[in-house]
């Protein structure tokens, strides 16, 4: 067999893994790789304008398609620019493979130009990572990396590849199988435990399903959970990461729970006698004060990751396994109990404490989200978000009915995530309409990717909910710091926006639309949808609009603030 270079081995390995898109940014330590990619027909390289854009795009691609997202950066500053994005993917269990160039093997550890210890830096924020010093190991490492990224609880894997290894030669043999002694994820749940849960369900009077991002990650689990809920007539609340895991328009849906969840979901949690948590990790944004969370409930927890179980709350019925497989088994054993009275109670709560806002003639963000939902509801749509109030409004007021249609940084809460993630999602799903719901603060963190979107004609629609503030922080200052708006004022008056996002869009060659009045919202959205390239919609919203309901951090769920409206 003839020999090829490390760079060629890497590319051939990626092709073997079915990779079609790479997002990245070049530098001295990846030139050999870039050179071998030149003219490659199998893989499209997307040149971002910042490495953070590349990793978030790979992440958005993975979230939208369910495939592994791939990004590339050079050594040192290029590699360290990936860190926030890798941590973001890690917190939300998103499968990505990040490839970083490294200085020559002989220089590693010598403070060489553009050297950073990436294996050391990313150790706590990757599922696994590699430094490849022997070109003969490269194909095996790539095989393992993709296997680790996409199986079990998915997550990011980093491959650090010295520039000289990219130039060394070896035979290309791609392994067919992976054998890792220390890595054997459990997929099938323990049947005894599943039957125990089934029995507990039948006996229970007030059961509640609490569905997390794990349902989205385990393809097909949404079908099983929908079947379970409908057959048993059990209400379902989802985490923010679980939006779309269960159809939001189903009468059994209680929407999102937690800090900015619906009052009825939170009330239901507090009163439930059985909580069936699936692929959810009892994040503190969900539980509020942990010792007062679901005080009356038996807690069952289905999760593929044993370390998620009994981490925050103690679990009565742990079931380790893949969400889809366990739910399928549970569906075979579950018999219906009598939950009519429980559903009656929930219906009352829904009537008494609906999600609401002041729907007057002012331009309010909730209305904008509702209109986007209304106009796009019969189409294939993906909603990505930034972080802050915009994210919460997008979570509350858009109805998600399918998995992988909601793309948001949950665990890390990364501002600047939404736009590049939306670009990645659009690359993966070219036939979908993709929105980035943004704040004027967050969008400025990765706005440079507009260049890539324009040049590559990636038609992401950016809806900036422009309040001139770092709104979510301002909201906390309003409620808990006596309205002292320190460090959160982005522009003094809403009308004197800075930057002028319409001109900014135009300067990149994109379309920009400013909307200051409620009556122009629908027209603007429709106009944006007609456009073939990216569009910025700059909605000048009520400056001090708040996200309600709200459970203040560390409080008991019953101390929920309902707001003024």
């Amino acid at each position: 067999m003839s020999k090829v270079t490390g760079a060629e081995i890497l590319i051939k390995s990626l092709v073997e893994e079915g990779v079609k898109h790479i997002f990245g940014y070049p530098g001295g330590s990846v030139i050999p790789l870039a050179d071998k990619m030149f003219g490659n027909k199998d893989i499209t390289f997307h040149l971002t304008r910042h490495e953070q854009g590349a990793v978030h795009a790979a992440d958005g691609y993975a979230r939208a398609t369910g495939e592994v997202g791939v990004c590339v950066a050079t050594s040192g500053p290029g590699a360290t620019n990936l860190v926030t994005g890798i941590a973001t993917a890690h917190m939300d269990s998103i499968p990505i493979v990040a490839i970083t160039g490294q200085v020559k093997c002989a220089l590693i550890g010598n403070d060489a130009f553009q050297e950073a210890d990436m294996v050391g830096i990313t150790r706590p924020i990757t599922k696994h990572n590699y430094l490849v010093k022997d070109v003969n190991e490269l194909a095996k490492v790539v095989k393992e990396a993709f296997h680790i990224a996409r199986t079990g609880r998915p997550g990011p894997v980093l491959i650090d590849l010295p520039v000289d290894v990219q130039l060394q030669q070896a035979e290309f043999r791609y392994p067919k199988t992976v054998d890792l002694k220390g890595y054997k994820p459990t997929y099938k749940g323990h049947i005894g435990q599943i039957k125990k849960l089934a029995k507990t369900m039948t006996r229970s009077k007030k059961p509640l399903i609490y569905a997390g991002g794990g349902i989205v990650l385990s393809d097909g689990a949404n079908v099983e959970i929908t079947k379970l809920a409908r057959k048993m007539e059990i209400p379902v609340t989802t985490t923010m990461m679980g939006l779309g895991a269960f159809p939001g328009d189903d009468p059994l849906s209680l929407g999102m729970l937690g800090m900015h969840g619906t009052a009825y979901a939170n009330l239901a949690v507090q009163e439930a006698d059985l909580i069936i948590a699936v692929g959810a990790r009892f994040d503190d944004r969900v539980t509020g004060r942990i010792d007062t969370f679901a005080p009356n409930a038996t807690i069952a927890h289905i999760d593929i990751d044993p370390s998620s179980v009994s981490k925050n709350v103690s679990v009565d019925i742990p079931i380790i396994g893949d969400a889809r497989l366990v739910l399928k088994e549970l569906n075979a054993h579950a018999r219906k109990g009598d939950y009519a009275a429980w559903r009656g109670k929930i219906a009352e709560w829904k009537r008494d404490f609906p999600l609401k806002y002041k729907n007057d003639d002012k331009l309010r963000p909730q209305y904008i989200i509702e209109q986007i939902c209304e106009i796009t509801k019969d189409k294939d749509v993906i909603i990505a978000t930034e972080v802050g109030q915009n994210q919460m409004w997008a979570a509350q007021h858009y109805t998600y009915t399918k998995p992988r249609t909601w793309i948001s940084s949950g665990g890390l809460g990364t501002m600047g995530f939404g736009f590049p993630a939306a670009i990645g999602a659009q690359v993966g799903k070219p036939d979908h309409i993709v929105f980035d719901i943004a704040g004027d603060g967050s969008i400025q963190m990765n706005i440079q990717e507009l260049a890539m979107a324009v040049i590559e004609k990636i038609p992401v629609k950016i809806a900036i909910l422009n309040n001139g503030y770092l709104g979510m922080v301002r909201q906390w200052q309003e409620l808990f710091y006596d309205k002292r708006y320190a460090w959160t004022v982005l522009s003094e008056k809403a009308a004197t926006v800075c930057p002028d996002f319409v001109k900014l869009a135009e300067s990149y060659g994109a379309k920009g639309i400013r909307i200051s009045e409620k009556k122009n919202v629908k027209k603007a959205i429709k106009e944006a949808l007609k456009e073939k390239g990216p569009v910025i919609m700059d909605f000048i919203i009520e400056r001090e609009e708040n996200v309600f309901p709200m459970v203040p951090a560390g409080e008991t769920i019953s101390n929920m603030l309902h707001g003024l409206a």
């Binding site: 294996v119 050391g120 150790r123 706590p124 599922k127 696994h128 430094l131 680790i148 890792l180 002694k181 220390g182 890595y183 990751d305 044993p306 370390s307 009994s310 981490k311």
Partner: protein, 163 residues
């Protein structure tokens, strides 16, 4: 805080030690001792980790250890039967003959060994479980200990109950 003894079978690869140690340090635990060495299989190493930790957090650390790709198996030896050994070298002051003789007596009576003789010091070697090693340190302390080095505990689950 209670003391725990964890035994982990890991891949014999670079970086594994840092991954394992990182799980403890990320939670602010101090590792009392950590001993690593190759096993009967040159591709794997065994680590014995002794740590003072909060029980609930340690439960999480054990699960996290299991999650590491390079960790093959994790055992918590704390509650069960196990055999353990530690090697210690103690350099003790011995400036006159009288003192030397006394030290030699202590060493002989405990089964330890003198492995280095200096003009002003003796170096004593002892291996054994925590109790035995600790006792020798206390016996020698009155003479003035110059330096101590210890390997940290190595431990294996005991099969005694099966015999």
């Amino acid at each position: 805080m209670p003391r725990f003894i964890i035994s982990a079978l890991v891949e014999n690869k670079f970086g594994v030690l840092a991954r394992v140690a990182g799980l403890f340090s990320a939670r602010g635990f101090n590792i009392d001792s950590l001993a690593v060495g190759e096993t009967e299989d040159p591709d794997t190493s065994r680590m014995t980790i002794v740590v003072d930790a909060d029980e609930k957090i340690l439960e999480q650390v054990k699960k996290q250890l299991n999650k590491l790709i390079d960790v093959i198996r994790v055992q918590d030896l704390t509650g069960g039967k196990y055999v353990d050994r530690e090697l210690i070298l103690i350099k003790v002051k011995a400036e006159n003959t009288g003192v030397r003789e006394k030290i030699v007596q202590v060493v002989d009576s405990t089964g330890a060994e003198i492995i280095d003789i200096g003009r002003k010091t003796l170096t004593v070697e002892e291996s054994g479980d925590a109790h035995k090693v600790g006792a020798l340190v206390e016996l020698l302390r009155p003479y003035g200990i110059v330096e101590i080095v210890r390997t940290g505990k190595i431990a294996l689950q005991s099969d005694m109950e099966n015999v």
